[in-house]
Amino acid sequence: MTSYQIDLGARSATVGRFVDYVRQELVKAFLEEKLLSGLNARALAEKLALPSSAINGQLAGTRPLTLRAIADLAWALDRSIVFEVRSNAPSEGQNSPATGSVVHYQGSYIHGVAATVTSTLPPPPVFRVACAGEPTKSCAA
């Protein structure tokens, strides 16, 4: 089993995941309000005196999310923001966090075709089933 890890480093992984996390929280709040009160991107845009495309872009991640934009959106959604920078000191028994997506390769499906498959998880456990009087079979869970 060969593996490949996206080695972008702890710094980049932290940045990428944090930026996305903030956006996800805003999308979640927006969708909750949409469900509760029927709010849509146009109404949000009107409240903020911005074009709908700006709101859609901020929520979809295709426009930068400045601190001001985050605060604006939270205000327009009638939400408060909780922000905390915590100590990252490891405690005893804590696992080390992964710093990149790990990819595992698993053999080719067919010779001559670029079809080697990979997985971000360890290979699945292999069960060996041996019934009396039958040849041994194995299958991956």
Partner: protein, 137 residues
Amino acid sequence: MPVRRLYGTRDFVEWLKERERASEASRLGVETSVIEQIDTIFHRFIVGDTFRNRWDFRCIKVERHPVWEFKTPDMRIFGWFPAKDCFIAAYGGWADYIKDHDLYRGYRLEIRRLRREMSLAKELCGEGTTPDDVISN
């Protein structure tokens, strides 16, 4: 928490390595680089994070054995779900280029061709066309 699996073709992994080597900035001017965006969407998928239809992924066309795309601000990653919570990534590309040149049909056909060449059993080509068919949230 759902157990999710992510697979990719050899060509896709080569494409991924190239994105990592190239270390490209966002063409949209957003805060994250291309490889950070890809790492994040893969990370969210495999840790069982909520995946929202149309925001994070979508079915390209409702059909038998449909092709799905994962979405990041700058990138699109095409593949299919041979089983629920199991995605095989086959192709990736810049979102703006794909949209400008309307390449969705082309990627769909390429994936169908790839699956044929792999002699993949029909049950491994995925049937589900709704988000709940392919991802547990």
